[in-house]
């Protein structure tokens, strides 16, 4: 999405005007507010998988909500880097484990955050649920639909909370767009959406084994390269559709209250022919019911469009740009001021809130105020973990439970299949 600075400024201004006065939070039932407190301290938490995303989640834990008791990872270097982060944040040291089963056995945990490679999600999450632990699992839900089904069934059997980590739900700018634009039907009928996540770089990460004799084969990785760059190998990963596309599909399913029924897709390794199996260029067309079609592209050879979700309605266009901005344009000309009649009480401030640019305490009372607070870095992950803890303590529903997560996972798994087979796959 290439827009001039003036167009972006207009789109931001339109969006802020449109959401002015919208409550920042959906009101909860009066019954919840009328009841007294629930006894209990911070949730006793363990982290399974201390790689990049696991460490981001660890850094986002608010100690008032959760007490992280233990970490585990099969890569000692990841544990060491997690420790460095703890020292930097002046947090207390946390016990380490290599095997997550040992951690469950020796630690008195109520819940775990699972941030392991995609192929292991179901194999880790299901036993954790069966052991009575609540689970916050990184997205995508599972490597295959059977894994999603196993996780869903285990959650139902155990009665434990399971949330899949799509943190757009907790981003101030996405919440504002949903409450202030989508729920108020300001877009009109939406028949087309476009998702893009374009980058210009190599997904392959450079890394060295933690020690010369390090052998990850007992965990299913023949070499350290397979562990370190698991996203590039189909045994462990569903590639760009899972790692990037599922964010878009999940957000679109939320915004449009729908799920895709079929997908056509294409993909190939066009640029980085280095032995990887995951495509570095993928394209898909998701068919939703009621005449809605969404396209998705993710490429690794040009970043000019960066990433966005665009929703094209009969009355207006909403663009969620780079997870940090929301732009609104009246139908009739890109960059034109919107004709939405609103009071201009929330002028001016640039919208820079996103899951990677957090900070929501105390919560502003309006969506516009929430969005305008967003220049600081990332409350969305913190909010995600805090809401997960609140779900455990007081039963407040999580934003992305297994049902929602399964829908987007199924769509992205189907897209991978469609790209591999060059067919239209029914979801």
């Amino acid at each position: 999405m290439i827009l001039t600075p003036e167009q972006r400024a207009t789109g931001r201004r339109n969006f802020l005007k449109a959401i002015a006065g919208t409550p920042a939070l959906a009101t909860l039932g009066a019954a919840a507010a009328m009841r007294g407190p629930v006894r209990g301290g911070p949730v006793r938490l363990g982290l399974i998988g201390a790689g990049g995303q696991g460490r981001s989640l660890l850094a986002a834990v608010n100690p008032a909500f959760a007490d992280v008791r233990a970490l585990c990872d099969i890569n000692p270097a990841s544990l060491a880097r997690a420790d460095e982060g703890l020292v930097k944040r002046k947090a207390k040291p946390i016990r380490h484990y290599v095997e997550w089963r040992d951690m469950l056995e020796h630690e008195d945990l109520e819940a775990v955050i699972v941030a392991v490679p995609l192929w292991a999600h179901a194999d880790v999450v299901v036993p954790c649920l069966e052991a009575g632990k609540h689970v916050l699992c990184e997205k995508m839900m599972a490597w295959d639909v059977a894994g999603c089904d196993r996780m869903t069934a285990a959650a139902e059997r155990s009665g434990r909370v399971i949330e899949i980590g799509y943190h757009r739900y907790y981003s101030a700018v996405y919440q504002a767009a949903y409450e202030g634009i989508l729920k108020r039907d300001l877009l009109g009928d939406v028949h087309h959406a476009r998702f893009a996540w374009h980058r210009n770089g190599n997904w392959r990460r450079a890394g060295q084994p933690p020690s010369p004799g390090y052998d990850p084969s007992r965990w299913g990785y023949p070499t350290f390269e397979h562990l370190w760059n698991w996203r590039l190998y189909t045994k462990y990963s569903k590639g760009l559709f899972a790692e990037l596309g599922s964010h878009h599909v999940n957000a679109a399913n939320w915004f449009l209250d729908s799920t895709p029924r079929a997908v056509l897709a294409s993909g190939s390794v066009d640029r980085f022919k280095d032995g990887r199996e995951a495509h570095d260029h993928v394209y898909a067309i998701f068919e939703y019911p009621n005449g809605l079609t969404a396209t998705f592209s993710s490429i690794e050879s040009n970043a000019s469009e960066q990433h966005y979700e665009a929703f094209y309605g009969t009355k207006a266009t909403l663009i969620m740009y780079n997870e940090s901005e929301a732009l609104l344009f009246d139908e009739g000309g890109s960059g034109a001021p919107t004709s939405v009649e609103v009071s201009a009480t929330a002028g001016g401030a640039a919208i820079e809130a996103s899951e990677t640019k957090p900070g929501v305490a105390p919560r502003p009372s309006t969506a516009a105020a929430a969005v305008s607070t967003g220049g600081d870095r990332s409350p969305a992950l913190e909010e995600e973990i805090s809401r997960f803890c609140a779900a455990i303590r007081v039963g407040r529903p999580v934003a992305c439970g297994p049902e929602r997560a399964r829908h987007s996972a199924r769509a992205c798994i189907a897209a991978t299949e469609a790209a591999n087979t060059h067919t239209r796959v029914t979801i």
Binding site: A33, P37, G40
Partner: protein, 188 residues
Amino acid sequence: MPATRTAVERLDLEPVRVGYGTTRAQSVALVVLRTAVGWHFLYEGFYKLMLPGWTRLGQPAAAWSAAGYLAVSSGPMAPLFRGLAHSSAMGFVDVAIPIGLTLVGLSLMLGLRSQWGCAGAMVFLALFYLSAIPTTGVPQSGAEGTYMVVSKNLVELVAVCVLFAFRTGRIAGLDLLWRGSDSWRTDR
């Protein structure tokens, strides 16, 4: 005596005396007052006992301590209470107050040993009043009104004095089970 009476007159003037010279309306009012004061105490105690905890909206609430309140005491007795806030006695105070409030609340709600309950309530309210006697005449942080000498704590203290004087446990409440006993000497 007029031929027709208003509703209030019908309720109050008829000399339906309940034991100790109060009319039915007076008796009902006294028991309602006792119940309301009792609920106030009971919930204050219950809430503190529930901490550390979580609100139903999912926000954690830290363990309760009187130290913060005492540390910002005002009025003539402020130095005494501020000193207490930083003393080793706070451990006892933080346990005793929630339990005491709860017991007083239960006593007044149930009308069980209600004279003892009134006495406890008066002690608590006197302490609360003395720790923050409003002498500035301007709004104070954390207070929802503007007071001079008379605060809501003092008003509630006077209300409990009234309850104590009227011995409402003999009007309604579990104290009736002990009627005739000398469990509370002044209650006879």
